[in-house]
Structure formats: structure tokens, C-alpha cells
């Protein structure tokens, strides 16, 4: 109990310090900009721009505070056993129009990895298909039989396809629990592109067995198999920065931790009792099925008194990411709608205050870019509202009074904003160099080079994401439902023509923005170039970044030395892709495969 009290004290302190720092930075930004704007007389546009700076700076400072919290704290010791595990666990793999060969190869690799732990019999796989395309569903059935034949896991490996995909992924999991939930005390929820070491899954079960109040334990999945320039930058950022940010998040969230929808273990009884997800009243995008169900499930478990935790020290949890900016934006469109839908739940009865704050953060993550864009727009139009300069403000004074330049304040603000973006990442490099973590990223020098190039790359692509996110927010506010598009996986290289069709509207906006700035506020043009130029060049950037990467930068530990389950998956997939006919037509009888 004393340790728990200490934990809660540390969480409260981290929250208070982080919030105070973020609010202080936001207030500083607000006041600096207000002074700058007031230099030629205060008007409504100045107040509006200062308010937008407040909101945007808060968001940036909050991210920086999370990194600082991650760098300055250590995770508390977790109660765990090291002996054999005894609990039966279901591994849920929801699929939705995915490539069955790649998905089932991951399952075969995880099954083999689990067998090596000696606890394979305690883990059952359930492939939960929501696939709508009958041709893909037929392939799923073929490959399921091959999977059974190769693994010999009959009775431990199941496949079912739903007739309708009511409730989407949350409904798919719920359907499993309603059918088979009582057979499994724990369930590891994966995505179709998830991969996990057998030892990691055993470790998850150990931690659940050791903490009876633990309802959900989230791992930090590392991105693997990235091939494109964009994909590899994201993979590096995920492996290098995310553990620090996740540790900060864990310190802030305490027992009200996150659920990211996959690569996590849940206590099935707790999940069943607490997470029955109703459809919200009204039509999508704000009503209907809850799109980002994972955040809500974490909040509901916490509401019911269960602990939800992210343990950033757990290794061997992987996922794959989008290979190009357009696929990333498509996924982001879905997340944007889901997060904005959470505005309906901010006042949901009985939720913990932190859960409400997490919803608010998720909303801010998508609203903040709109604030930045509104700020830029207001800045271009500001000269229209500015009062003419009065050089003779003092009556009967014969000499003109020249206004004092406040440009240093704007410059200070710009430096502060860039600092909030860059300093946490540079501190992470220093920490990695000090702790020896940089060795996994090909050494200190290579890690530093990769970070610097990543900073340049993320600065260039930030305006493109800003535009995609703003468009997503406006679409959702207009009432457009993004639906449930299947994720594009695999090679995602885009031609210039494809990139143009996905981003020509950005080029138009960039050119118009620069034109308006040149017309109304020519002094603003150099300030706008870092945003406007990437927009004008968006098709080139999108296409270039989607091409295969040959760089020796952005190396990650798993790329340099793939873990056992990654190697297994590669071997199985290569072998399977070499066989065109998985099933011989001599059914019925035992499923005979071309092994």
C-alpha cells in the first residue's frame, strides 16, 4: 500500500508539474504575442491571434513536458512472478480485408515463438474475420487450413467470419467475448499487422497474474518492416523517441493508463463487465458506433475501478506502419473522426477526471493544427484591421514619435516554439548517448545524424500534415463520415501523378496563401515560406518520401538485428509466397497442404 501511495504521489506530482509548465509556456506565448500585436495598437485580430498562440503553445509544451517527464523519471518496480504461468489466454486477431498470407504468416510465427517458451498450449489463437470481400474471405479459409496443417494447432487455433460487421472492430471483439469469453481469463488483443514474441506474451500473462486489480496492460509496439523513406523515418522516430514519451505518459496517467486498441492484454471478465460499447445517439460522424473505441474502453475500465497501465519496459511487441504520407493521412482521418467524436463523451457519467482529460487531449491533437492555420490566416489579414500609425500622439508636440519595433518579441516567440519542438528530441539523443541506448541505433554519431535529419524531415512534412488534419477536422464538422476503409499495407510507393491527385489542393492553397501574404503583408512572406513552400512542393515531397529508402540513417535495433519472431515471420512468409496453390483439391479428409 505504501508503494502504491508513493506511485500515486509521483503521478500527481508529474501531472501538476507538467500542467503548470504547459500553462506557463502558453501564458508566456500569449503575453509575448499580445505585446507584439499591441505595438501598433491593440485590435480584435491581435487578441484572436494571441488566443490561438495560447492554445497552440499549450499543446506543444504539453508534448515537451511529457518527454521531460519520461527523461527524468523511472518506471516503478512492477510486481511479477518468474515461475510458470497457469492461465489460459486467447490471442485475438481481428482482420478486415487484409492480405491473409501476410497476416497468417505472423500468426504462424507467433505460434512457433510461443511453443519455444514451453507454454504454447496455454495460448489459443482466434482469427476474427470481419472481411467483406468474398474473394479475400475465401483466401482466408484456404490459408487457415494451411496454418492448421503447418502448426498442428487444431483445437488451439480458431477462425470465424461474422455475417455483418456491426460495431466494427469493437463489435468484433465483443462478439468473441459473448461467444467464448468465459473460456479465457485473459485475452491479448492484436491488429492484423501485429507481431509479438512468445516470451513477451508470457510476460504479459505473468504481470496480469501478479496484479489482480490490473484490467488492461498495454505494451509499446515498435514499428517494423518499413521500407520507404517516410516509413523508415517514422520507424526510427517510433523506436527512438516513443519509449521516452511513453514513459512520461505512464508517469502522468498512473492507474488510468491508455489502450491503443492492439498489442495489449486484457482481463476478459473486467473487459466484459465494463466495456459493452453502446452506439451513441444520432448519426455519424458524432453519433453511431464509437470509432476510437480503445480510448473509451480504457476509460470504462478505469471507471469500474480496474487499473489500466502501459509498461514501457516490455520488449518484443511490434506493428507495421504506413509507408507513405497519403496512407498515413487516411488512417489519421479515421482517428480524427474518432477523437472528435469523444467530445460527446467528455461529460459521460462517472468517468475519472484524467479519462476526460485524455479525451480532451485527443481532441486537441486534431484541433491544434487548425489553430495554427487560423493563426497564419489571421496574420495575413491583420494589416487590414490595423489602425494607421499615429506619429504625433502627444498634443502640441512638434516632433514625430516613431513606434518601437516589437519584432524581437515575435522572434523570441518563434524561437520558443521551435525550442518546444526540437529540444525534447535533442535531449532524448543526449539521454540515449549517456545510457548506451544509442548503440542500438548504430552508435551516438549515427543516432544524432538520424535525429537531425528527422527534425528537418518532420519540419518539411509538418505543413502537409497540418493541411490533411485541418481538412479532416472540417470534414468531420461538416458531418462527413469517413467510413471504415481497409488499411493499405505493403509497398506504398506513389508516382508523382498519384501524389499530385492526393495533394493538388495543397499546392493551390500554398500558392494562394503566398499571393495573399505578398499582397496584404509582404513583410510576412519570409515567415510564411517554411509553411508555404512544402505545400507548393507537396506532390514532390509525398512521392519522393514514398520511394524505397537506401539510407544508412534511421537504423533501429530491430532493423539491425531482427528478433527471433521477426526472423520466423520472414522465413514463413517467404516460403508461403513461393507457393501458389496452398490447398490440394482432395478434400475431405485431413487438410493436405503444400508444406
Amino acid at each position: 500500500m505504501a508503494a502504491q501511495g508513493q506511485d500515486e504521489g509521483a503521478v500527481a506530482l508529474t501531472r501538476t508539474l507538467s500542467l503548470t509548465a504547459a500553462v506557463a509556456a502558453a501564458c508566456g506565448g500569449f503575453l509575448l504575442f499580445l505585446q507584439y500585436g499591441a505595438s501598433d495598437g491593440l485590435d480584435i485580430i491581435d487578441v484572436l491571434r494571441s488566443a490561438l498562440i495560447f492554445a497552440s503553445t499549450f499543446w506543444l509544451a504539453w508534448g515537451a513536458a511529457q518527454a521531460i517527464a519520461g527523461l527524468t523519471t523511472r518506471p516503478p518496480a512492477r510486481p511479477r512472478t518468474t515461475g510458470p504461468i497457469t492461465t489460459r489466454t486467447a490471442i485475438l486477431v481481428p482482420v478486415y480485408n487484409e492480405d491473409p498470407v501476410a497476416t497468417f504468416a505472423r500468426i504462424a510465427a507467433m505460434e512457433a515463438s510461443l511453443r519455444r517458451t514451453g507454454f504454447g498450449d496455454l495460448f489459443h489463437f482466434a482469427i476474427l474475420s470481419d472481411t467483406r470481400d468474398d474473394r479475400i474471405a475465401a483466401k482466408e479459409r484456404h490459408w487457415f487450413l494451411r496454418l492448421l496443417a503447418e502448426t498442428g494447432a487444431e483445437g488451439r487455433m480458431f477462425y470465424r467470419r461474422r455475417q455483418n460487421n456491426k460495431g466494427r472492430k469493437a463489435g468484433n471483439i465483443e462478439d468473441f467475448i459473448k461467444t467464448s469469453g468465459a473460456a479465457y481469463p485473459f485475452a491479448i488483443i492484436l491488429d492484423a499487422d501485429s507481431l509479438m514474441e512468445g516470451e513477451t506474451m508470457v510476460e504479459l500473462v505473468r504481470r496480469m497474474e501478479s496484479a489482480p486489480d490490473l484490467g488492461l496492460l498495454q505494451t509499446l509496439p515498435v514499428i517494423i518492416h518499413a521500407k520507404s523513406r517516410f516509413g523508415r523515418v517514422m520507424q526510427f522516430a517510433g523506436a527512438f523517441y516513443s519509449p521516452i514519451f511513453a514513459r512520461g505518459l505512464a508517469m502522468m496517467q498512473g492507474k488510468t493508463g491508455p489502450f491503443w486498441g492492439h498489442n495489449a492484454i486484457v482481463r476478459v471478465r473486467a473487459f466484459a463487465e465494463s466495456c459493452g460499447m453502446p452506439a451513441l445517439s444520432g448519426k455519424p460522424p458524432f453519433g453511431g458506433h464509437i470509432l476510437s473505441h480503445d480510448y473509451v474502453e480504457a476509460a470504462l475500465l478505469a471507471r469500474a475501478g480496474w487499473t489500466v497501465r502501459v509498461d514501457d519496459d516490455i520488449q518484443g511487441s511490434y506493428e507495421e506502419g504506413p509507408e507513405n504520407i497519403v496512407d498515413h493521412a487516411k488512417r489519421d482521418r479515421r482517428w480524427c473522426q474518432g477523437n472528435l467524436q469523444h467530445s460527446r463523451l467528455l461529460l459521460a457519467p462517472g468517468l475519472r477526471m484524467w479519462s476526460r482529460f485524455v479525451f480532451l487531449q485527443g481532441i486537441l491533437a486534431y484541433i491544434a493544427p487548425v489553430f495554427w492555420l487560423a493563426f497564419l490566416g489571421a496574420s495575413i489579414l491583420a494589416p487590414l484591421f490595423a489602425a494607421p500609425i499615429d506619429y504625433f500622439p502627444i498634443k502640441d508636440w512638434p516632433f514625430p514619435v516613431l513606434p518601437v519595433s516589437q519584432a524581437s518579441k515575435a522572434l523570441g516567440l518563434a524561437v520558443g516554439v521551435v525550442g518546444l519542438l526540437f529540444v525534447p528530441k535533442l535531449l532524448i539523443v543526449l539521454d540515449a548517448a549517456r545510457s548506451g541506448r544509442a548503440a542500438g541505433f548504430a552508435g551516438k554519431a549515427r543516432a544524432l545524424q538520424s535525429t537531425l535529419v528527422e527534425l528537418v524531415f518532420s519540419s518539411i512534412t509538418a505543413p502537409i500534415f497540418l493541411m490533411y488534419q485541418t481538412r479532416s477536422v472540417l470534414q468531420v464538422l461538416r458531418g462527413a463520415d469517413g467510413g471504415w476503409p481497409a488499411q493499405t499495407r505493403g509497398d506504398g510507393s506513389l508516382t508523382l501523378a498519384q501524389a499530385w491527385s492526393a495533394s493538388h489542393w495543397m499546392v493551390t492553397n500554398g500558392v494562394i496563401g503566398l499571393g495573399l501574404a505578398n499582397w496584404f503583408a509582404p513583410a510576412l512572406v519570409p515567415w510564411l515560406l517554411p509553411v508555404a513552400l512544402p505545400l507548393v512542393l507537396a506532390p514532390v515531397i509525398i512521392s519522393w518520401s514514398s520511394r524505397q529508402s537506401q539510407s544508412r540513417l534511421f537504423l533501429t535495433p530491430t532493423e539491425r538485428q531482427p528478433s527471433a519472431v521477426i526472423n520466423l515471420q520472414h522465413l514463413i512468409l517467404t516460403r508461403w509466397q513461393g507457393k501458389e496453390t496452398p490447398v490440394e483439391p482432395d478434400l475431405p479428409g485431413p487438410a493436405v497442404m503444400n508444406a
Binding site: 482466434a126 467464448s180 459493452g276 453502446p278 459521460a348 475431405p588
Partner: protein, 63 residues
């Protein structure tokens, strides 16, 4: 002896589907998952009431 007029035996997809259903069926162990309350019951707030205020009806006079 094989009955060649029975076309169903040549429908590989159907046979595979049957086999998958037989080998891959999930264990039957149902668990209840009650729906949670996420929305407050709709109540008419003061602002809504004010916005819906209409001038009091008066009976028509005359005629």
C-alpha cells in the same frame, strides 16, 4: 461408387468452408457483456428553454 451427378462434391470452396467451420469453430463459452451508460439522459437546459420561448398565446379577440 462416386455419384457424378452430385455437383456439390466438386465445389471445393464449399468443402473448404465446411472444413474450416468444423476445425476452426470457436469454443462455446458465452460471457455477458452489458452495454455501458455513456450518455447523460437528455434534459432540457435553461438555455434551450430560453431559446424555445415563444410569446404567450392570446385568444383571438372579436369576430
Amino acid at each position: 461408387m462416386t455419384d457424378l451427378s452430385d455437383q456439390a462434391q466438386f465445389d471445393i470452396e464449399t468443402r473448404i468452408a465446411e472444413r474450416v467451420e468444423m476445425l476452426g469453430a470457436l469454443p462455446k463459452a458465452p460471457l455477458a457483456m452489458p452495454l455501458q451508460r455513456l450518455e447523460m439522459p437528455r434534459r432540457v437546459g435553461l438555455l434551450t428553454m430560453l431559446m424555445h420561448l415563444r410569446p404567450a398565446r392570446t385568444s383571438r379577440a372579436g369576430h
